[in-house]
């Protein structure tokens, strides 16, 4: 069976082509999904790429979460469809309440683009099963609003349930508990600020190919299923 990964384009999405290339690199099929359609096209998983949907105006992800496609995606995700949101995709997942907490202005008040050391905290998600628990990886980050915040209760629950998926080694934005990515309770929905799709080829993008693991993970999950 060929794994079909849907890649969503909102107005202002930037990393959709990059994500599609990464999906194809591991041998899966990339299926473009358009924000204004009410159709998930029967995909096996969905990737919400980064960018500046609706210009990031108002708040990152605030307007996108009302897209017609999201009306299909939210219930599907609640029923177990694997979903990965990176950067703006993560922000949209939080705004849509598929993930707890929120992403706010970097503590430095500057946009930051850099190669970031990270620790994979859990492999118990469809997007991280190809990593080793505790594995150190390098992925690019590039965002102005990536500081993860949540109430003390939510944070405690995230930690207690093992819902922190990746943590920063050297906090670039003031995120609470150095959180770079989280999952929902069920584990199928993952959001992270770093960009795995920019770290999949030797020659271009970040000086690592550690991002491939996210894509081989979902392929493995879908093919094994």
């Amino acid at each position: 069976m060929s794994a079909r990964v849907g890649i969503v384009t909102f107005p202002g999405t930037l990393d959709d082509q990059d994500a599609a290339r990464a999906v194809r690199l591991v041998g899966a099929e990339a299926v473009p999904l358009w924000h204004a359609d009410h159709d998930l096209k029967g995909v096996d998983a969905v990737f919400l790429p980064g960018g500046f949907s609706y210009g990031d105006y108002l708040r990152c992800g605030a307007i996108s979460r009302f897209a017609p496609l999201m009306r299909e995606l939210v219930p599907a995700a609640r029923q177990g469809l694997p979903v990965l949101g990176t950067c703006n995709g993560f922000q949209i997942l939080c705004e849509a309440h598929l993930l707890p907490g929120a992403l706010t202005r970097n503590a430095s008040l500057h946009y930051v683009c850099r190669d970031q050391r990270l620790k994979v905290e859990t492999t118990a998600t469809p997007w991280t099963n190809a990593f080793a628990a505790g594995q150190e990886i390098v992925l690019p980050i590039k965002h102005g609003e990536g500081r993860y915040v949540a109430s003390a209760d939510t944070l405690a629950a995230l930690e207690a349930n093992g819902q922190v998926v990746v943590r920063y080694l050297g906090n670039p934005n003031g995120s609470l508990n150095d959180i770079a990515g989280i999952r929902n309770e069920a584990g199928n929905v993952v959001g992270l600020m770093p960009h795995p799709e920019h770290a999949v080829e030797d020659l271009v993008g970040a000086p690592s190919t550690d991002g491939l693991g996210f894509f081989t993970s979902i392929l493995k999950k879908l093919v094994d299923a």
Binding site: L58, E95, G101, A102, T104, R105, L109, G174
Partner: protein
């Protein structure tokens, strides 16, 4: 035509780095006597009709679902005189 103001501020327990940066800069710029600054958003919503209760209810819903992220922000809605 009426105008409704929606003020959105970070909840008190959420760190506000922009407000802090301003507060830190003030003494350097020669301003004293400020204990703290918080920065939020202000929306001016021009209604097509009057600001009656029904319209205000719409704006409140808009604030609750769109203009504010109630996970981290509080909002107030009021008619501009």
């Amino acid at each position: 035509m009426a105008r409704v103001i929606v003020d959105v501020m970070l909840k008190p327990e959420i760190l506000d780095p922009q407000g802090q940066a301003i507060a830190r800069a003030l003494p350097r710029l020669g301003f004293s006597g400020v204990a703290a600054v918080r920065q939020g958003k202000r929306f001016e919503v021009e209604l097509e009709g009057p600001a009656d209760e029904a319209a205000l209810e719409e704006v409140r819903k808009m604030a609750e679902t769109l203009l504010a992220n109630t996970v981290i922000e509080d909002y107030t809605v009021r008619v501009d005189q």
